[in-house]
Each structure stands twice: as C-alpha cells, then as structure tokens.
C-alpha cells in the first residue's frame, strides 16, 4: 500500500471529483423523478409507459451515452456536464418506478383522512404522501447511488478524470496498485453515500424511530 500513501493527494482529488459526478445526478434525478412518479400514480394509464420507458433508458450502455451526449447537448467533448446529464438520466430511470411504488404504498385511508382534515392536494402531497413514501424512495436512492459510483468510473474511457482514471492508467502500465486502490476508493465512496442516504431518510422520518413522540 505504499503506492496509495505516496499518492494520497492525487487519489483524494479524484475521489472528490468522482463524488461530485455521482451525487449531483442523484439530487437532480430525484427532483425529476418525484413529479414523474407522481404522474404515474395519479394517472394509472401512464404507469406502464413511464416504467417501460425508464427501463429502456437504463439498458442504454453507459459508454454510448457518454460519447453521444456531446452530440445531443452540443457541449464540448471533454465537458463533464455530459457525464452528469447522462447519469441524471440513469438516476431518473431507476427512481421513477421507486417513487411511483412508494407513493402508491401510502394507504388510501391516510390520504382521505388528510383531505377530511381540510389539507389541500399540494400540501397533502408534500406533508403527508411524500414523507410516508420516504422509506421506499430512500431504498431506491441507495441503489441509484451505488450504481452511479460504478458508472462514473466508465467515463475514464473518454478521458474524464475521476477514480476510473486510476483503472485506465494502471491497466495501460500493467500496474495493479492504482487499480486496486481505485476499486477500494469506489467501494468506500459507495458506502459513504449509502450511509448518508440512510441517515437522511431517518432524519426526515422521526415517526419511524419509535419511542419519543414528535
């Protein structure tokens, strides 16, 4: 592990970039998936087409999406925004179904009780349905986070510098150390994101923690 210690700063920098490229799509993807998931539950006829479309989106190979994005977006070939947009698409594709399933798992009686209390539809969605769907959505978000970390590394094949660059550099020189360090760093990053999402989900669902009220 001397290689790792000698290159701590370099690996650290790549880790930060990698985290940035993986997390921004999670946030944006979630923001986009919530309305889409809501549409799927509100208009059940949209459920199947939306889910099928997102399933199809997820099967597009990441390398293809990374290389074709500059064409579609008109950005420079080396612009990391291409990676972020591509990953956002993958995140949305994963989360639409989760959000839809989460929202439809809210018992109908709870919805009706909220309406009976005089809570309007928008407020009911934000304060009642969405919070109750958090456990399911958080589970989907965890899978998306881990998946994103792995997919970002593929962008090394087109020259975007992140932990995946350790893979391509090590491979080109027949040198295992950087590759192993990169793999471990990716796993650690995935673990950190996973724990962060669990913590965030727990923070916004105090009623599930039991014991204390409110």
């Amino acid at each position: 592990m001397t290689w790792f210690l000698d290159h701590l700063a370099q690996v650290g920098g790549l880790l930060v970039t990698h985290a940035y490229l993986a997390v921004v799509p999670l946030v944006v993807g979630l923001a986009l998936a919530v309305p889409l998931g809501w549409l799927a539950t509100r208009f059940p006829r949209l459920y199947t087409p939306l889910i099928t479309a997102s399933g199809l989106l997820y099967t597009i190979p990441s390398l293809a999406l990374f290389v074709l994005m500059p064409l579609v977006l008109g950005l420079g070939i080396l612009n990391p925004l291409n990676v972020i947009v591509a990953l956002t698409l993958y995140t949305v594709a994963l989360l639409v179904r989760t959000v839809a399933d989460g929202l439809s798992s809210v018992p109908e009686q709870v919805r009706q009780a909220a309406t009976a209390m005089g809570i309007g539809p928008v407020r009911r969605f934000v304060t009642v349905e969405l919070p109750l769907a958090v456990p399911v959505i958080a589970a989907g978000l965890r899978v998306a986070a881990v998946s994103n970390v792995s997919i970002v590394s593929v962008a090394a094949l087109i020259g975007i510098a992140q932990l995946g660059s350790l893979f391509t550099d090590g491979f080109a020189r027949d040198f295992l150390d950087p590759i192993v360090v990169g793999i471990v760093a990716c796993i650690v990053l995935a673990l950190i994101l996973d724990l962060a999402i669990v913590a965030l989900a727990r923070a916004v669902t105090p009623w599930l923690r039991g014991g204390r009220a409110g």
Partner: protein, 242 residues
C-alpha cells in the same frame, strides 16, 4: 437518427465475423453463460438462506458489497491477473465472464432469499402439518412460491448483464460492445448509436423471453391482481384475486 439508420441498413455490416448477427450472438452467449453461472451460485445460496434463516446478515452485506464494486476496475484487474494464465482466445473472455458473474449474483441472490422470505407462513405451516420434511417444504412449497421474486431477480440481473457486457469490449472481447468501443475509437457516431440501440433492443428481447418463461413457470395463484385505477370518489374494498 439518420446515422443509426445508415449504419443498420448497410449490408456490409451484417456479414462476416464482425457483422451484427455475429456480435449479437456473441453477446447472447456471454449473457447466457453469465446468468447460468450466477444462478448456479445465487439461487441455491439464496434459497438456503431464506429457508434456514441463517447467515442472513452476512449474505445481505455481501450482496450490497458486491453491488458497489466498479465493474471496469474489476475487469482490468481480472484481465491483468488471469489473462496471462489462460491460453488461447479465452484469455480475455474468462475474466470478463467472471466479472459479469460478480455483477449478476447480487440481484439473483437477493431475489432468491426475498422470494423465500415472502412465502406465506400459513403455507409453510400447512405443509409441515401435512407431514412434509424440511426438504420437501423447500422444494414443494417455498421454491414455487418464491418464483415471482426469483424471476424478478433473474430479469434484473439479465438486464444489467446485457447492458454491462458492452464494457468487456474494452479488453478485446466481442459482443455488441465492439460497436461501441470501435465506434468510439474512430468517432463513428453511427456505429456507436447503432450499438446502443441494438443493446437496448436485445435487453428488451431477453426480458420478454424471461417474462414468457415466467408466465409458464409461475403458478397462476401467485400472480398479483391487476392494478386497478384508484377510484377516489368510490373507493371499493379490495376484491379477491381473480
């Protein structure tokens, strides 16, 4: 779009060892072999964990851990370590299949033990009451009841393998990934886009086949009721399964 059509309609691309049919076949073979190996590992292990309830914590963490391994990195390690030790053309294929198996086992394993978990305890009790041995319960009751979730896991694994097998082309393996890697090397957008479309189409086809097999293999009694639109104005009590 024009580029894709132009690439797909060029007859030269449909012939020879580098033609589209050859690549699709290679891709299918890699997927099939991967799924067979992964199922051989994941299904028995998952059934055992679900049936005995032992080792659950270890298996769940193993599954999550395996999911977070970056495929590209593992692929490079596998080729550097195993490649020189294998003779002939398989030198790059075997490490790739290995890495794809690592990718495919988590969903299959999860589907297997979640499936057994989801078996109605009443059914298990009834089986025991009828005098079935533990093994008979597993194969006669739990496995059939676990099939829906198990198939869900298999289909999820199949999709991931079809999509990710494309990366193996970075280590000189065949399959539809070649259209992507070779297209990227020369910036032939038509080739790359056509490759992406073909992969998506193949994934759909594989999923369809699995869906058909699932319909045949899974007992109709386990199929959940059709999703009915939520009639907000006249909520009806849940109807019995058709």
């Amino acid at each position: 779009m024009n580029l894709i059509v132009a690439y797909l309609t060029d007859p030269a691309h449909w012939q020879g060892s580098g033609g589209i049919p050859a690549r699709v076949l290679e891709h299918l073979i890699y997927t099939l072999v991967t799924l067979l190996v992964a199922a051989a590992i994941g299904v028995p292990l998952g059934l055992w964990v679900g049936h005995t309830g032992r080792g659950r914590w270890a298996v769940v963490n193993l599954v999550n851990g395996m999911r977070s391994v970056p495929t590209l990195g593992l692929l490079f390690v596998a080729v550097l370590v195993l490649g020189p030790r294998i003779r002939g053309d398989l030198a790059f294929v075997v490490p790739s299949i290995l890495v794809l198996v690592v990718l495919a086992v988590p969903p299959i394993l999860a589907g297997a033990y979640a499936g057994v978990d989801a078996v109605d305890p009443l059914a298990r009790d009834a089986a025991k009451a009828m005098g079935m041995s533990s093994r008979e319960v597993l194969f006669g009751v739990e496995l059939p009841c676990a099939l829906p979730l198990l198939f869900g896991g298999l289909r999820s694994a199949a999709l991931q393998v079809v999509a990710t097998a494309t990366i193996a082309a970075a280590v000189s393996v065949g399959g539809l990934g070649r259209l992507l890697i070779d297209g990227q090397a020369v910036r032939d957008y038509g080739q790359m886009a056509a490759g992406a479309v073909l992969v998506a189409a193949l994934a759909l086809a594989v999923d369809l086949v699995f869906a058909l097999v699932q319909r045949v293999a899974v007992s109709p009694g386990l199929v959940p009721a059709r999703r009915r639109p939520i009639d907000r104005k006249n909520p009806t009590p849940a109807n019995p399964v058709a």
